[in-house]
Every structure is written in C-alpha cells, then in structure tokens.
Amino acid sequence: MKRVFPLFLGGITLVLIILAWFTSGGVARREMRQANTPEQAVRLMLSQIQGHNFDAAYARLSNRGDVDKNAFIREFNGSYGSLLTYSSLENFDIWGLHSSDQESTMRVRLHYSTGVGPLDDVRDVKVQKSGDTWKVFWPVNNATKLPPQVIPVNYLRWDVIGRGAGDEWGVQNVDTPQVRILSMNAIQRPDGVTLVGEVVNEDSVPAFVNVGATLLDHAGNEIAQESSFDKIAHTLLPKQVSPYRIDFPNMRMEKIKNVRMDAKALLAAASADPVIEVNQQKVETDPLGKKVLSGQLTNEGGQVVDIPHVIVSYYDSNGKVVWVSDGYVAQPLLPQVPVPFAVDLPADISKNVQSYHVVVNHFDRVSS
C-alpha cells in the first residue's frame, strides 16, 4: 500500500504532462518540424515566431543570406516604439494560393493583439522546396532609408500658460478654442446606430477636441451617451478638419427622436510638425475580397512617427459624410519612407462613396 500511492501520483502526473503537451500543440510542432508540405513550413515558422523563438524561425528561411536577421525580427517585434512593440502575435491563418513541386505561394493572416485592439496583417509568402523539406522565401525589405543628415524643422509649436491657482479672480485667462461640428449623419448599421461627421477647429490655436453625443427617445429622455473615443483626430491645428465616428451598439434608429451633439475643446500644446503626406489613395478590393481604402503615408518631417493612425471620412455624391473608418498602422513612419496602409470600408457603403478625406493622427512616445 505504501508504494501504491506514490506510483498512483506519479502516473497521474505523467498523464497530465502528456495532456499538456498535446494541448499546447506539441504533436503538431513535432509533425511540422519536418515541414513536409509548404503549409507546414509556414505554420512552423509562424509558431516559432509566436513563441518568440526567432532563431528557429529565421532558420526556416530559404534566403537567409539575403535577409538580415535583425530586420526579420523587427518585422514581428516592431521598432521605434511602433504599434508592434506593444503587441503579440495571437494566432494566424494559412491557406494556399497556388502550388507546384518546387514552389508554392501561401497566404497568411497574422492576428496581432495590440494595445489599441486587434490588428490583422495579410501577406503572401513564397515557399520553396529545399531537398526533402520546404522553406520559406522571405521577401527582402528594400525600403530606402534616408541617409544621415540634418533636416531643419521650423514649424510652429504652441505652448499654453494658463491662469494660476493663486491668481486673483477676474484676472484674464486664455479662452478655450472655438470648434464647430460641420456635419452629422446618423446611420443604422446591423450592429447598432453610428453617427459620423466632421469637426473643424475654427480658432487660431490648436485644440484638443472630443465629440460626444446623447440620444434622446420620443419622450425626450436620454437613452444612450457615447463619445468618439479614438475615432477622431483629437489634436486639431488651426482650421484643421477631422472626421469623427460615434458608435451606439445594439441601438435601433426607431427608438431615437433626437440627438444632442457636444464638441468639447481644450487648449493644448501642439506642434505643426510632422507633416504626413497621404499618397496613392484609392478604394480597392484587398486580397481577402474586402473593400478597403489603401494608400501610402510619407513622413515629410525628420522625426520618427511611432504609431500612425489613419482616419477616413467618405462622402456621397452630395458631399454628405456617409462613413468614417480608421486603422492603426503597424510600422513606424521613418522620415521620407513611404509606408502602406489600408482601412476597411463596408461593402454596402462603398457603392455610395464618391470621394474621401484622409487624416493622419499620430502617437509618439515623447509626445502625442
């Protein structure tokens, strides 16, 4: 009896360890170690990236001689305080596009969990047969980097000195900036009601803006209150226009009689730098068949932009804002280096879209 209990405990422990190995994908990893198929090669590499085993993932590349290891790691780990530095690869999907005996193309969708919500990255990856195994051919990043130089930047910067707590009553203060809601359009969406529109800073100083809305029912009672949260460029320079979007989940238009809009503005220290150019904007269908507005962002300044945030307002033929969508860009904006972006556009709305306006917001480690 003395021996039975330890043996029983040992057996239970062994069973649990085996179960844990199975559930953690141990079998799949072991099967994939051989990478007998293109999908296995990609899956193995991405599993190793997910587990932060970058050496092993890098070893799965067929063109290691052309790909810098640190650059490869930075593609998943991020750099310069970009969004990927605050994220982790949560999971991924892989499916084949076309295949031959020696080469295959796989499409992967990487699901990142980031500080601002989920982020998807879709890539087409070539896989090549090398002996008995398949290896991933990783595209070489040929992005040009600006040579070392000094870029003089002399855009305005605004600082604010407010009235002190010790100042006597009646001593002059600086007024909050004048902002105005240019338009508001309420749209019924399958998952709720959405308010979209634009707001302008009419003042000659920068403003930190937030737009809120209160829905009133037929009896004049408040039924919901929301704000634009991050669906707006909060810091608006003088005469700058920003789209905004306010979502009311699980709300029906029939319940709403009135909407009370509220644009709040505060004086904010701000800089007119950096200027970000948005090139090659077009509405197109992405590889997954979804409508997107894509383009390139180019940082015209000399300072790295850590986390770019793109907000787009779409207009119909009457110039009415019919939708606002936004998206964070995973890569940082290095000076003068174009970075692609794409933001979703619902298919049912895209057919009414005649034009659009893109605003780029940015968040930096030093300032935002």
């Binding site: 002399n154 855009y155 305005l156 605004w158 009553w169 009646g170 002059q172 203060n173 600086v174 007024d175 240019l182 302008v200 009419e202 003042d203 000659s204 100083v205 920068p206 320079l237 003088p238 005469k239 700058q240 226009v241 007119a272 200027v275 970000i276 150019e277 948005v278 090139n279 090659q280 904007q281 077009k282 383009g295 015209e300 659009y356 306006h357 893109v358 605003v359």
Partner: protein, 285 residues
C-alpha cells in the same frame, strides 16, 4: 450657524428685562472704526456677528465698546449683542461698501477674428478697497489702446456694481489692449485680434525633384490680414496613381509641399471650410 446665533440673540433680546441696552449706528462705511454705546452695569459679553466674521469680547456693560476698522471690512448686516447677568440685548446695523477703488475686469474672448461686430465684451465689476461690490452707480472709464493708434476711451456708469461695453473688433489683426479704470484701479487686458478665414486662396505649382512643388500665394483674410502661421491648408491631388492629400501648416505666410505627380493631375486647395483655386498639371511636361 450664523443664523442660529443671530436667532438666539434676537430671542435673548426679546426676553431681556431692558436692564442693559446697546446702541449701534444705523449705517457704517466699510473699513471705518465705530463705537457702540451700551447701558447697564457689571460684567457682560459682547458679540459682533457680521457677514464673514464673528467675535466675542468680555466688556463692562455701560461702557462704550470700540470696534476696530478691520472688523468692519465686509459690507452687509451686522448684529451687535450684549449679554449681561440680567439678559441679552441686540442691535442691527449695516455696513455699506466704501468708495469704489478696485475692479474685476473680465474681457471675453481672449482671441477674436478681425471685424467681428460686437465681438468683444468687456465687463467691469466695481469693488471698494475691501472687495465689497459697490452697488451705487459709479463711473468706469473703458479705454481701447490699439497698437500704433491713439487710445479711445468711453465712460460707463455701473449699475448694481457692473459696467460693461461691447466692442467690434478692428479690421486689422494684432493685439489690442483694453483698459478699465476707477479710483486707483486701472486694469488692462489684451485681446488678440486674429485674421478671419482665408480669402481668395490661390495655389501655384512648379516642377521639383520629386514631382511638383505646390504652394499657396501668401494667405490672407478678406481684410488683407495674414492668416497666422500654423493654420492648416489641405492640398489634394488626383492623378492616375490615385489621390494624394496632405495637411500643411502655413509657414512664413505660405503653405507648400512637394507632391509626386503621375501623368495629368488635378490639384485643389482648402483651408477649413474655405476652398481655393484648382490647378491642372501634367507630369513630364
């Protein structure tokens, strides 16, 4: 608490056997020392309850009680009460504000577009030296001191302690000093008169290294005032490669940006809700 004390004192005064009496002046000017006469005899306690203070002193009934000027700085109703062994007696008196000598000067807004009718409001609240609002009509002199121009002034009489003027902002941008004066007080505020919306916004394009350099002509409002640096001008260019937009802040009076252009392109410009001219350019020409 103050109401309770006053009520208690009034109650005492009602039940007193008129042995002790207290005589206060009916009206006193703030910051003036007074003497309160009392009658009776023996040890007593003197209470003085004002709008912002209360004090308690041991006195001799029948003597004159001096009240220092610093005890009577707050305008309003005061209750003086004398409590002796034979009961309490009380008297009310009012302290009125002293002569107008201070101002709270409120000017709104701190920034105003040029040529805004009645766009500036200047309000002066008249106080005496002890920050009591002077309700009696008092003359307040408002003055406007625009840069490089002669000062203009106008007198307004305060009503219930407040005097105000509404002003139309000047046609020319820049800081303007607004003043209000009464007694020894002379308060100054500065209002920034800023250019209104851009007017007749025009752009031109010239060939550059990366495509075309697109720049505005010096941006002015309709009154010819330069729109302040930092104001955003939005350039939009449409060509075969798609659309390019960029928000550029005005720098030294103009906004400019280099734009890549593929084939024929249309360039438009806007600042806030104001749109400008449209250019058609062709790359490679």
């Amino acid at each position: 608490m103050r109401a309770v004390i006053i009520a208690a004192m009034m109650c005492f005064s009602g039940v007193s056997a008129v042995a002790s009496e207290i005589h206060a002046p009916a009206q006193v000017t703030a910051g003036t020392a007074i003497t309160i006469r009392t009658s009776g005899s023996g040890d007593a306690t003197f209470y003085l309850v004002g709008p912002a203070s209360a004090s308690k002193t041991k006195v001799q009934a029948g003597s004159n009680i001096p009240i220092d000027s610093d005890q009577l700085e707050d305008a309003g109703r005061y209750v003086a009460a004398l409590c002796a062994s034979d009961g309490c007696t009380a008297a009310n008196f009012f302290v009125k504000p002293a002569a107008a000598n201070k101002l709270s000067f409120l000017v709104h807004p701190s920034r105003v577009p040029v040529g805004t009718p009645q766009g500036i409001t200047a309000v002066a609240i008249v106080h005496d030296s002890f920050r009591n609002i002077v309700l009696q009509p008092s003359p307040v002199t408002f003055s406007i001191m625009a840069k490089n121009e002669k000062s203009v002034s106008a007198a307004r009489t305060s009503e219930n302690g407040v005097a105000w003027v509404r002003l139309t902002s000047a046609k020319k941008g820049g800081p303007t000093r607004l003043g209000a004066a009464i007694g020894h007080a002379d308060e100054i505020r500065v209002v920034q008169q800023v250019a209104a919306d851009a007017c007749n916004l025009r752009i031109k394009a010239s060939r550059a290294k990366r495509g075309f350099l697109v720049e505005t002509e010096p941006v002015h409002d309709c009154g010819g005032n330069p729109v302040p640096d930092g104001t955003v001008v939005s350039f939009t260019e449409s060509d075969a490669a798609g659309k390019t937009t960029v928000d550029v802040p005005i720098k030294r009076g103009v906004a400019k940006i280099e734009m890549p252009i593929d084939g024929s392109a249309k360039i438009t410009v806007a600042s806030g809700v104001v749109t400008g001219n449209e250019l058609e350019v062709t790359g490679g020409q």
